[in-house]
């Protein structure tokens, strides 16, 4: 431990881990609600999070009433936090979460510690890497996630390749195309393992206009090349072996919570969402801990995370005013249909505490057409029509479920033939 604790205070009312959109919005709101000391711990050189290297629109409409590019939006979030009195510390890495809000940290000056009344985990999300997607082949240079591509090109002004292939077809995959074109990089193809494009977007003309070939329903993806990427091989929808000449591969999408700290901690983790188990107030299994933003589930937009940060701040401020954090009884949300990948929240606190999230977020494993039914104590307490697919935003109203869950677990299932 360094004698001056790495230049950090030893105590804080609230410590926010992660200075991205959710963390900054939350910290700012807490200060505006009159919370005493709020510190944001950011491991990068600058706070702001992912938007820092999204050199494109649209950010900030809801928050600032105008259209901003990612870096400008990130800067505004930082300025707002500083103006509100938030103490932002950069180059601070949290290395362990301990019970009751104690954090182990490291700084360029060495190790440090911080004790907070409440800790809020806002560590965000990242894209699934190549090994996580079991993409085989050689391991040459030129294989990057969209995040790595954007930090390399936007922050450092370097380009890693000239004619890459884009693997994945989510919104971020199209953002990767935009980033490429901005730098004079010409993507040659978009490759998707699912049977259709995942992004909700008119894509065929968009891709055609940009000379990007589209392959869906591909199998046996392989990246080949000795030093730099030379080709991408796969079996196409018709079962034909394809080989596309390319000097790079962008592995895009399939966001997952950046939850390593969580996995190594005492907090309960939800294998479905990949994030922490929370209740409708964003509170974790250790009531000293809260969470908001993309750590809760695979990625939402910045605007969403900003709003989630603001909402969660209100519940934390209210909780702080009650004094010591307390464990309250709760019921679990159980997913009895395999089509449902996750729910956020994963449990519902049963107490006199009111408010909390208005909607429950649902992630689907497969396309679903049917009624999403919530059952508790043998009673159907909610029924919502769904026609949606994986990756898309799905929400159901939480109030009827919270009000009627009768202290027994809430089972979520899908009725397909009503």
């Amino acid at each position: 431990m360094t004698t001056n604790n790495g230049g950090l205070p030893r105590k804080s009312d609230v410590a926010v881990v992660g200075g991205g959109t959710a963390g900054l919005a939350l910290a700012t709101k807490l200060k505006r609600l009159g919370v005493g000391s709020v510190i944001v711990l950011e491991r990068e050189n600058d706070a702001g999070g992912i938007p820092r290297h999204c050199g494109h629109y649209p950010f900030g409409i809801r928050e600032y009433g105008r259209l901003l590019k990612g870096p400008d939006y990130a800067r505004r979030n930082v300025e707002a936090a500083v103006d509100a009195g938030v103490d932002i510390k950069t180059e601070v890495t949290v290395t362990a979460l301990h019970p009751d809000g104690r954090l182990s940290l490291t700084t360029p000056a060495g190790k440090a510690e911080l004790q907070a009344e409440r800790v809020v985990l806002c560590t965000g999300a990242r894209e699934a890497s190549r090994p996580q997607r079991f993409i085989g082949g050689d391991r040459p240079l030129g294989v990057l996630s969209t995040g790595a591509l954007q930090s390399m090109t936007y922050l450092q002004g370097m380009r890693p390749f000239r004619r890459p292939v884009i693997i994945g077809s989510e919104l971020v995959s199209f953002s990767a195309i935009d980033t490429c074109r901005h730098l004079g990089i010409r993507p040659v193809a978009m490759i998707e393992e699912n049977d259709r494009i995942l992004a909700r977007r008119l894509v065929q003309p968009y891709l055609m206009m940009r000379g990007v070939a589209l392959f869906t329903k591909v199998k046996n993806l392989r990246i080949l090349g000795r030093r730099q990427v030379e080709a991408i091989e796969f079996i196409d929808a018709a079962g034909k072996q394809q080989s596309i000449e390319a000097d790079g591969a962008i592995i895009s999408g399939r966001f997952r919570p950046e939850a390593a700290l969580l996995h190594l901690s005492h907090l309960e983790v939800d294998p479905g969402s990949g994030g922490p188990m929370i209740d409708q107030f964003g509170q974790c299994s250790d009531p000293s801990y809260y969470s908001a933003g993309n750590l809760l589930r695979p990625a939402e937009t910045s605007g969403w995370c900003w709003q989630e940060g603001i909402e969660t701040a209100k519940w934390i401020a209210e909780d702080l005013s009650r004094g010591q954090p307390a464990v309250v009884p709760s019921v679990r949300v159980q997913l009895v249909d395999r089509a449902i990948g996750f729910s956020v929240p994963q449990r519902l606190s049963i107490s006199d505490r009111t408010g909390g999230m208005q909607k429950m977020q649902i992630g689907l494993n497969v396309p679903v057409k049917g009624y999403l039914e919530a059952i508790s104590g043998g009673q159907s307490i909610s029924n919502t029509w769904l026609n949606s697919r994986p990756v898309r935003r799905v929400q159901i109203r939480l109030a009827p479920i919270v009000q009627n869950c009768s202290k027994s677990p809430v089972e979520l299932s899908i009725q397909r033939n009503k």
Binding site: A109, G136, R139, S145, G157, L221, R256
Partner: protein
């Protein structure tokens, strides 16, 4: 020291070592400490670029090596010397021990023979365990395990830091390394060898072929023929993230068969958990590509043994090539009258045996009457300190801040390696020396910063150039 310029007017070295894998590095150290002048010639852009690039990072006792073989002897000697020198060289050891587990009656029946063999190989602390003893020790194991035995002396080490430390010590004490230097021909004139390389010529009294996957090709180029043929055996691995390391404290070994040790599940000294290797014979000496079905299969195998792995993230996948030959044992022999020694067919046990092989070969090339004058007080270089189970740089003051967040690699560590005596010339080399980009995000967060830090350092840069070019 490493010389960057062309190999001209080199003068004469006592020994030229062809190949800077773990065996070549260990030999360079041994012979340098024994007092020989040593030149190491590496074909690739960086050291450890062939068979030593990917393995399971276990320090084996040799309990299951063929009894009485040269391999078994070298593993035993190498194991002993590793544990004697690791502290001096600053190399970490994770004393995990291993369990050899049977998952069927057929495998259970094999155990007594294996225990007997271990005892015969001098690994006397091997003893049988019941199913309940095993599950008590490893509570996350599947209940399908039927029995096994423990090998307390099997440990986990850093496969790259070890080899780097051998070579760094050799270089600190006078050995010279040439990278990007491939031996294409050579003549022995009765006094000394003259090796022709793509970068110039080298003269040496003795040469040692440690070319690993290319051992037979190098021997053909120098001697004209080779009694063995290398058949590369590919081993693919899947690495799980750090939370998985809590699921197995021992190295979980299978009951070995004739061709392979089978699929291992073990922690790494870096705090991950790995599952592998496969064993696939192939002709290519360079194709270390992974196959997605095989990676998925390895993940499934891991889950079969440790069901909780289902919920753990995979962070990396890689493949290594072992230089297997048609012979079971190592192919180490000296051609008398030619001052040529071949160290071939070091298949999967090279990491454990390297120091033992080095001793053995030193004895072959410099028997008592020719022995060199050993260095009295050799310089000990600073090693890469990358063990998750030992103090790391991020815990120390003035570390410059963290660049790679997944593996907690500091700016100071990266700069020290880049400015050190054995700087990497590729991103792969930097990864092996510092662990940047080796973690769960695979560069999502640190690529931008690394591009900046490594600008002008690699012979294949991460960025093709500025966007205005």
């Amino acid at each position: 020291m490493e010389v960057k310029k062309k190999l001209v007017a080199l003068g004469r070295a006592d020994v030229a070592i062809i190949g800077a894998g773990v065996v070549g590095c260990a030999l360079a150290r041994r012979l340098t400490l024994d007092g020989a002048s040593v030149i190491v010639l590496e074909k690739a852009a960086d050291v450890l670029d062939g068979a030593s690039k990917g393995n399971s990072a276990i320090l084996h006792t040799g309990f299951d090596a063929p009894s009485g073989s040269l391999e078994q002897d070298c593993i035993a000697q190498g194991y002993k010397e590793y544990l004697e020198t690791c502290e001096t060289l600053g190399l970490p050891v994770l004393r995990s021990g291993a369990l050899v587990l049977a998952w069927s009656q057929e495998q259970l029946d094999e155990l007594p023979k294996l225990i007997e063999k271990a005892h015969k190989n001098g690994v006397t602390d091997v003893s049988a365990l019941t199913k309940s003893q095993i599950l008590k020790r490893e509570p996350y194991l599947s209940n399908n395990v039927v029995g096994g035995f423990e090998v307390p002396g099997e440990f986990l080490i850093d496969p790259w830091a070890s080899a780097h430390a051998y070579l760094l010590q050799a270089m600190a004490n006078g050995a010279v390394l040439y990278r990007d230097t491939e031996v294409v021909a050579g003549q022995y004139d009765g006094q000394q060898w003259r090796l022709e390389t793509n970068a110039g010529s080298v003269c040496a009294a003795q040469i040692i072929n440690c070319a690993g996957l290319y051992g037979d090709i190098v021997e053909q180029r120098l001697i004209g023929e080779c009694p063995f043929t290398v058949t590369p055996r590919k081993g693919q691995f899947v690495v799980f993230d750090k939370s998985a390391a809590a699921l197995a404290s021992s190295i979980i070994l299978p009951v070995p068969t004739k061709t392979t040790k089978g699929i291992v599940v073990c922690r790494t000294i870096f705090g991950n958990l790995l599952v592998g290797p496969t064993a696939e014979n192939q002709e290519s000496r360079t194709d270390s590509s992974t196959i997605s079905d095989m990676l998925a299969h390895l993940r499934e195998k891991g889950i079969e043994m440790i069901p909780n792995l289902e919920e753990c993230e995979v962070t990396a996948a890689y493949a290594g090539l072992r230089p297997a030959t048609e012979f079971q044992d190592y192919q180490i022999r000296r051609i008398e009258g030619k001052n040529y020694t071949c160290v071939g067919g070091i298949r999967s046990t090279g990491l454990s045996a390297a120091l033992g092989i080095a001793r053995h070969v030193a004895g072959l090339i410099a028997p008592d009457e020719f022995s060199f004058q050993a260095i009295e007080d050799p310089i000990i270089p600073a090693p890469d300190r990358l063990s998750n189970y030992h103090p790391r740089d991020w815990e120390e003051p003035d570390n410059g801040g963290i660049v790679c967040h997944c593996e907690l690699v500091t700016r100071r560590e990266i700069e020290q390696v880049l400015n050190g005596p054995l700087p990497p010339s590729t991103l792969q080399g930097l990864k092996r020396r510092t662990r940047v980009c080796m973690g769960r995000c695979q560069g999502f967060y640190c690529t931008g910063e690394l591009v900046k830090l490594t600008a002008g350092r690699f012979n294949l840069p991460m960025g093709l150039g500025h966007d205005d070019q």
